[in-house]
Amino acid sequence: MAPNTPAIELTDVTKSFKSLRALDGASLAVDPGEIYGLLGPNGSGKSTLIRMIVGLVRADSGRVRVLGRQMPDMSVLAEVGYMTQQAALYPDLSIVENVRFFAALWGREDGVDAALEVVDLGSRRDSTVATLSGGMRTRASLACAIVHQPKLLLLDEPTVGIDPQLRAQVWDSLAEMAKAGTTILVSSHVMDEAERCQRLALIRAGKVLAEGTVAQLKKKAGVSRLEDAFLKLSEEPAA
């Protein structure tokens, strides 16, 4: 992969589920090593977009390239970590058993302790998942997604339903991983989380309204709050 190749490149992607148009000509590019935010209301197509990047959804038209390879391509999955919206874990197993299982799928059992350290669950490693609070479940789920030290990490609304203090912790962990060279794509419908992303895309009704840094987006809309920028840009035709 050439150093300037985007980690993720979507070009004019569309996807419909029966009569519902989930993605409608969406394009974006994520640079290696950045934290890139997908910001948009519920139902705007964020999850479909992320699923398309891991090959769980096939595009009806358009091009999807991940880590320099044309999707669908199973070999990409070895270098991708994916955290689903719902903290998908085995509730009857302990935290460490869950993490170890996913580690084994990538042949990276050596990463278990480090992953638990990142999400600060080392001391609760033997707790059964069913007994955990929502925040801890999310962190355990994150540990499963990063245990193989992926080059690209995809997080679908990782901070939904967790309290502000934990949310700050999760974002700190993400910043640390990005510093170590991981590309992170994270979706959210909470505007204030966007400030923690280097760049972001505003998504609505399956279209990318605008792409850029927070400052660029505010400037483009001529407003001082990101929320206002979102509302303003929604009224104009997609960029």
Partner: protein, 368 residues
């Protein structure tokens, strides 16, 4: 107690039923299909068990009995000689043979004893009883017209190729029931567990990992097979040591039959659960897939007593071969040198392989 709250619940359930076409179809169609199947099975045209008749006495009484036996509606009779009848029995072409030996008529007139020889397979309870009953009614009808006054005593000499009069109902049905119970329980546990992977979201995670679809189904197969093997061992031990179900064969071979059947059930569970979205739907496959097999696999009604079209269906059901194999071992005392047993085991294993490969193809990588 509030009637309003109760009725709110009732109304909600009815609304849900109306939306759930699959459940509706099942609730109304499944009982009708199953009942039709049972009624056809029990009332449909059957020829009755095949029986050879050997007559070695040409006197009047023997001729009269032979004529009555031949017209019996309960059994399908072929006249032949003793060598041929023994050969037919040996090669499982008939359920049994009736022999009226030399001196049969003389004993009827002199001793007032009707003594036909009846030899049956004895590996299934149905045909053996039918043959004996047919002989009794035939001799009864024949001798009342022959002998005046005191009616003769019927003393058939019944011998069994397998089992014998000491075998009770449980001994006959037990063997097939053991495989059925293992098959059923293993199927339910596996299909529901595989479905849980989908409903709790972990399947999506697995699909976004380097795990391949065939690796997924093989992993499930191995995991549940270990559980199924332990279950088989427990069920077998209980059947033999506590219930004392008759076993003429090698317990190790019994275990092989149960284990291969369990493996097949694991794969069926995985395969069918790829067609279901919820655990409830997986359970709905039971009346569609398990019940017909329970009815047609020769567990309750011997396959030889089924109407001919149903026999064709029976012969393509995997559980039929499991029941065959188990009877071969437990009642016939068959070993691995017995070709029909090898064939049955091969068929079950082939079903297992076919199901797992199909499951690998039907489990979907994409979600939309």
């Amino acid at each position: 107690m509030s009637a309003r709250r109760i009725l709110a619940l009732t109304r909600r359930l009815l609304q849900q039923f109306r939306r759930d076409h699959r459940t509706l179809a099942l609730v109304f169609v499944a009982p009708i299909v199953i009942l039709s199947l049972v009624s056809y099975l029990l009332r449909g045209d059957t020829t009755g068990p095949k029986v050879d008749l050997v007559v070695e006495d040409s006197a009047q009484a023997a001729m009269a009995v032979a004529a009555e036996v031949e017209t019996s509606s309960e059994i399908a009779v072929t006249r032949t000689d003793i060598a041929r009848a023994r050969d037919d029995l040996e090669n499982n072409r008939i359920s049994g043979y009736i022999r009226l030996p030399a001196g049969f008529s003389e004993r009827v007139t002199r001793e007032r004893v009707v003594a036909p020889e009846v030899t049956v397979q004895g590996d299934e309870p149905g045909p053996a009883e039918t043959v004996v009953k047919a002989v009794q009614s035939a001799t009864g009808a024949a001798t009342t017209t022959l002998v005046q006054g005191q009616s003769p005593r019927l003393e058939p000499a019944i011998s069994y190729r397998y089992g014998g009069p000491s075998l009770d109902t449980l001994d006959y049905f037990g063997s097939a029931f053991i495989v059925f119970i293992v098959f059923f329980v293993v199927y339910v546990v596996t299909s529901v567990a595989f479905l849980r992977e989908r409903t709790q979201g972990t399947l999506e995670r697995l699909m976004a990992s380097p795990l391949r679809r065939l690796e997924l189904v093989f992993g499930y197969m191995l995991g549940f097979s270990i559980l199924a093997l332990l279950q088989s061992a427990v069920v077998m031990t209980y059947s033999l040591a506590v219930l004392h179900i008759h076993n003429a064969g090698n317990p190790a071979l019994m275990f092989v039959v149960v284990a291969v059947t369990a493996l097949m059930a694991v794969n069926l569970g995985i395969m069918l659960s790829t067609f279901a979205r919820t655990e409830f739907q997986a359970v709905q496959f039971i009346p569609l897939v398990i019940t017909p097999q329970a009815i047609l696999a020769g567990i309750i009604v011997p396959i030889s007593s089924e109407p001919a079209p149903l026999q064709v269906v029976s012969n393509v059901l995997p559980l039929t071969y499991a029941a065959y194999a188990m009877r071969d071992v437990m009642i016939r005392g068959a070993g691995l040198d017995y070709p029909p047993l090898l064939l049955a085991l091969g068929v079950i294993a082939a079903f297992a392989a076919l199901l797992i490969v199909t499951a690998g193809a039907t489990v979907r990588r994409t979600v939309g």
